[in-house]
Symmetry: C2
DNA sequence: GTCTATAAGTGGATAGAC
DNA sequence: GTCTATCCACTTATAGAC
């Protein structure tokens, strides 16, 4: 299974690979259930190397969350700029942001680890970071995106619904359960395909 | 710390105590991070007894989720009946359901374990149960509550937002962070107090 | 009905070689 | 820069006494 003797590459580059692998593994299994060995295998290196590179599993997850938060903001900013260029109204802009959001399910490296992190409020170390990321996202939507307080809240609500549909793997029922299909169709709009494909890719 | 020699009570009653303790422990730490020993201590008995009573940690969690799903439906039905008696319109009925929903944070035995379960879609054993509970809740809102497909979707979205606010423990920032406060106020409406008190009780 | 003792397994982290 | 070997703590589950 495991590839012995991974090729020798710069630490910075290896770091990126591990972060990417970790984002997927943590996103799928959650912080507690994921093991550093699963991350290592996904990255094609040994378990101790993962720990050595980041100091601890906890620190690795912290970085994953940090990155995911930044990436999300980045994508939002790009979508906002695009919407502004096209002179979209507030309504269209919001939908535009929504589609950009759903596109992020692809790869599973942003939305899923973020959602997993939102369940760690109780953690003494990760909790504070999680809350700060959450609040920053809210402020970004409210101020930078110009959705306003209620608009940001609404956007967040639909985002959380989508996240939950993903983490419960409801797409697995799409073909068998009409209610699941209906809910997915309504929650994802024209982007259902993206979600279904992402789920299929993971399975 | 641990109370040795718990008093001898009927199995059925003990079962309830364990389920209640488990709902809180699982709700706070999540399935993977929670230990059967933490459940045992919360219930005031020994760890092996917890396992013996339910066969395994996995089965215990399954029952917790099952119960939480049923309890939620029960509360919805009561709220629907009440709304119908009072002849409330669709808008008011939905808000009435929303308030009944938030009241469930009290005790932490329903919303939190349910939310935690929604992150386990990937689990081969618990995943299917989680999806079935999710879909049943959706159908209950759509048909029994009469919210219709889109109404149920919207209700679910705000529910998931509230769940996420709770699991990330955003209430901890209520007094220090204006943005967190604003978001909580908007998401919970007149029921913020309930949420803040529940968070304080847990801490 | 409930406990103590403990087996068996898992996983994060450290040491040190190459 | 990366691995192998390994330690140690923790956790679930079982056995059997009371």
């Amino acid at each position: 299974m495991s590839e012995h003797k991974a090729e020798r590459i710069p630490a910075a580059e290896r770091r990126e690979q591990i972060l990417e692998a970790a984002a997927r593994v943590f996103g799928e299994r959650g912080y507690a259930a994921a093991t550093t060995d699963q991350v290592a295998q996904a990255a094609g290196i040994s378990q101790p190397y993962v720990v050595r590179m980041f100091g601890s599993k906890e620190k690795l997850f912290g970085e994953v969350v940090e990155r995911a938060g930044l990436r999300l903001q980045e994508v939002f900013r790009a979508a906002i700029a695009d919407a502004n260029e096209r002179g979209l109204g507030i309504r269209e802009k919001r939908d535009h942001l929504g589609r950009a959001y759903i596109d992020l399910v692809d790869g599973g490296g942003v939305l899923l680890p973020l959602m997993q992190s939102f369940l760690l409020g109780h953690d003494p170390v990760l909790g504070p970071k999680v809350r700060s990321v959450f609040v920053e996202i809210y402020q970004g939507l409210r101020d930078e995106a110009g959705l306003g307080a209620e608009g940001a809240r609404d956007f967040l609500a639909y985002g959380m619904l989508i996240n939950t549909l993903l983490t419960s793997d409801l797409p697995a029922l799409y073909d068998e359960d009409p209610a699941a299909r209906e809910l997915l169709d309504m929650a994802c709009g024209s982007k259902v395909r993206v979600v279904l494909d992402a789920a299929k890719a993971r399975a």
